[in-house]
Amino acid sequence: MNLLSKIVIPLFVLFIIFYGVKKRVNVYDSFLEGAKEGLIMVFHITPTVLAMVFAVNIFLDSHFIDGMLGFLKPLFDFANVPIDILPMALLRPISGTASLAIMNDIFTHFGPDSYIGRLASTLQGCTDTTIYVLALYFGSIKVTKTRYSLPVGLFADLMGIIAAFVITFIFFG
């Protein structure tokens, strides 16, 4: 598994350049042309990334989610699920780094092979950071009318999170 993930990228790069040379493409000039487009792309996404990181980080700083959890604790105790998992589930669509940090905490406190550790692992893998991806991709091409994309993305997240709870329970519960 480890070797596979290490070998994939070098092989991919080798293959692309090999194929380019074989098809008599000027690989160096093409690289420069693409890299220049990449720089312009970075320039276009900078405001979006800065805006999202700023908002998400001050939101995390305020510990609003922790404050709201008090109400839900009895429900979680009843279902026999450690409440520590909830902030992670809530934050997963907003911030990948934040949910990763919480998963790390859970691993430290409960261990990766505990029930909640496995649940956290599945949660982290089940979906991507919807709001960030949406802001980034639409921001890069200056689309402001996103139509039904956010509700559909969040619906997919919700289904993924529910599935993570159910599937972990079936496999490891």
Binding site: G20, V42, A51, S62, T127, D128, V133, L136, S149
Partner: protein, 193 residues
């Protein structure tokens, strides 16, 4: 929509921290988190520039087209509005491939490039097209076959079986992606008839 969420996050953060007396924290946060944003950009920039450069070679040699053709049976059903040889399809195929292998940082440049190509024949530049939305739903679902980061962290914390969560992750991500794509499909169909 992103508009509302962005404003909501900031309102809640500032007002809640006033209520709880965490004024110092929020004050510091406002002053320092612009730097966190720039740091993230700085981390992403070399990868984006490198991969857009390398993928340009793949585009010019026709390799991107080969990728797109391999995934054609799936892509044609997901993106009925795109012509068969659309340039975006190659980038979409590469993006899905990179995501599946858990190479998230390599997937982002492909995704950005796909959006750029889709935007080229968008008649209303400020409005998302159906193809863009389907692509985003596919992407936010995060179709990951090998969650590399999670496995690495599990190893770091001394898990006895770090890869045991692969199967549960694949099942959960499939549920997420399929339900997103289904909802997207039904919305599209309802609009047409």
């Amino acid at each position: 929509m992103v508009n509302v969420i962005w404003a909501g996050l900031i309102f809640i953060a500032i007002i809640y921290s006033f209520l709880t007396g965490e004024i110092d924290t929020i004050n510091n946060g406002i002053l320092t988190h612009a730097t966190s944003g720039i740091n993230l950009i700085m981390e992403m920039m070399p990868l984006i520039v490198l991969w857009t450069g390398i993928m340009k070679i793949a585009e010019k040699s026709g390799l991107l087209h080969v990728f797109a053709r391999m995934l054609n049976p799936i892509l044609r059903r997901l993106f009925p509005s795109l012509p068969k040889n659309h340039k975006a399809l190659g980038y979409i195929a590469s993006n899905i491939g990179a995501n599946m292998l858990g190479l998230g940082s390599a997937a982002t440049p492909f995704g950005l490039k796909a959006m750029e190509e889709l935007q080229k024949d968008n008649p209303k530049k400020d409005t998302a097209t159906e193809a863009m939305i389907t692509f985003l739903v596919l992407n936010t679902g995060g179709v990951t076959l090998i969650p590399t980061t999670v496995i690495a962290l599990r190893i770091m914390h001394g898990s006895v079986n770090p890869t045991e969560i692969i199967i549960t992750s694949i099942l959960a991500t499939s549920v997420s992606s399929i339900s997103g794509l289904l909802l997207d499909y039904f919305i599209r169909r309802r609009k047409r008839y």
